[in-house]
Subunit: 406 residues, 2 copies
Amino acid sequence: MKIIDGGVTAAKGFLAAGVYAGIKKKRKDMALVYSTVAAKGAGTFTTNVVKAAPVKWDMKVTKESEFVQAVVLNSGIANACTGPEGDIKNEEMAQAVATALNLPIGAVYTASTGVIGKQLPIEVIKEGVKLLAGELKETKEAGTLAAEAIMTTDTYSKECAVSFMVDGKEVVVGGMAKGSGMIHPNMATMLAVVTTDLNISKELLQEALSADVKKSFNMISVDRDTSTNDSLLLLANGLAGNKEITEKDEAYEQFCKALNTVTTTLAKRMAADGEGATKLFEVEVTGANSWEEAVILSKSIITSNLVKTAVFGNDANWGRILCAMGYSGVNFNPDLVDLYIESIDGKLKLVENGMATDYSEEMASKILAGKEVKATADLKTGSSAATAWGCDLSYDYVKINADYRS
Amino acid sequence: MKIIDGGVTAAKGFLAAGVYAGIKKKRKDMALVYSTVAAKGAGTFTTNVVKAAPVKWDMKVTKESEFVQAVVLNSGIANACTGPEGDIKNEEMAQAVATALNLPIGAVYTASTGVIGKQLPIEVIKEGVKLLAGELKETKEAGTLAAEAIMTTDTYSKECAVSFMVDGKEVVVGGMAKGSGMIHPNMATMLAVVTTDLNISKELLQEALSADVKKSFNMISVDRDTSTNDSLLLLANGLAGNKEITEKDEAYEQFCKALNTVTTTLAKRMAADGEGATKLFEVEVTGANSWEEAVILSKSIITSNLVKTAVFGNDANWGRILCAMGYSGVNFNPDLVDLYIESIDGKLKLVENGMATDYSEEMASKILAGKEVKATADLKTGSSAATAWGCDLSYDYVKINADYRS
């Protein structure tokens, strides 16, 4: 497997476009991803009881449609808490794409991100769809335009692609994602689209995605607020020409690995670009009795406001990390825990068997000042581990989210 | 029942003192509460797996001691993550009080709040205990000195007392508490001591306290970080002279009501004085199918960073409230929810049946600018309700917690 340039247009037969339609004031606000042939679709979605109209639609498409061929996305309005009218407007957006690309409506995924409670300006959307259909290209640049069009308060676009060989055929997996925040700040909605030219059964495609999300996107947190719109969509159009994968063989494992590289890369970039973030904060919990416990512990650390503010302040306030582990609900022996921090500036053991070592506060502060900081907590009772990604909590997080919407 | 002046010294036979011992740089840092006669003790403690030495001690005292007579508290050092040495130093602190007041060591509760991972300066503590023993008084002022001595980044001390009649005897319940933050910021440790001259069995005293804490202190949140040191201690010395309460009769109910007035008042003051808070934020969920579901929903709203920043910004960003309800884990119908906000400046219905009303944003912003803001979410499916208290998330929260410890 190798990392290659590009995003959603990297795999064979995928075209994309990103345009300014007029939902936002200035920046690009609509994107389209299109497969030239029928593709299998898989998706994972927010677990929030309050689900946006596009989420409900995509869940239905994933379950009922034989194939999918397009994903239309808008940024600016989330189309959540919009009642039956919101569902109708979402279908109108899907229908506009279906008409423009001569597809059945069930072959069109939709995604929205933005302020909650407002209706989509459907005439603007329809014009946007026409623009998008005319702009579809298979170039790397077209993929980047799409990745840019789904940004909100993201400070950079997020793309990633890899290739690997199956049956002597090159297979490509590429994706784009958007992270935290809104121009009219609302919430850290995550949207991601991953495309691949792999030939694989629909069942296995969904199974691979569902397993992957637990170790990639579900392991990041900017602010613990699970959005109403979170969606991860995966399209596989088979144009790589490999024999269809129908069982969990070596090719399947290779695909899972490639998929995980793309999703984890996008997820980490999302965490590093969290609202107001000044650094990526990675937490690994090792020596746990089970993977599930390591997940709970690492996420408890990564989501603690007190840990996040200490990381922002370059303060090796390790007591907060042990505290966050302690209230996670996992039973462990605090008197066994070792704790390390590291970054490009070095590595330091802060805690041994639950108590402070005689580490240098100056060195600790220098390490924490890095752009990518990692903390490792070793429970020393088992052999399971998990890694979570987050970011620090800064003044800018408060600023971005306290400012009035309009 | 009536509200009266005072705190831990309001009930008959309770003395208190607060002094500067030298743990902190300048401010008072040790407090003592003393009952002139043997009292029954009850306590509820942090559920954090990482428990401070005084918490472990008090759990043992509550379980094993026939009676208690003193509570010694220090602020500045939490005595958490301090290993066996921490346990020894905590016992030395208890022993110093036992010696000074001629009590068995098992009659002394201890409590600490402050930075994690440091050992108590035991000689300073011992001198402090001697000072405290000499200063013990039954005056209101002595109670206030004790309440001040347990403060950390609290901006004001927290006391409350009420009285009511049982068997023609006046019974008093009074208490003090400290909330969020440290001079060397660490975590929002909550400590509270409540005293009463009621005559009641030890079993019922504990039962009343355990039931009460679920509706008072457990319903507040400053930052979701459950401390290693949280302790609520209740002493009942029987000096009111009523017949001992041994069953859940009317007198017991009256006591529970009085206790709840004291604990809820202290809890609300703690929330309003949360680190960096500019206002008290109260959330009531009504029309729920069960009290448990109403609790989960109200706490999910009160702890959402996105809701808290919106409240700080006086922004009626109601989508965030519905979102926080949606990811709480409770299943409800979002299309039925009504949502109101109110403060001294008025009341407004923002959402009806899950969608925005045509409320005035200007009026909403004015209401949210109040010092005490309440949001009510009505699920309209049942008859259960719960109330939670929190505060907004401001720049100062980040500042207080990102500043270097020393």
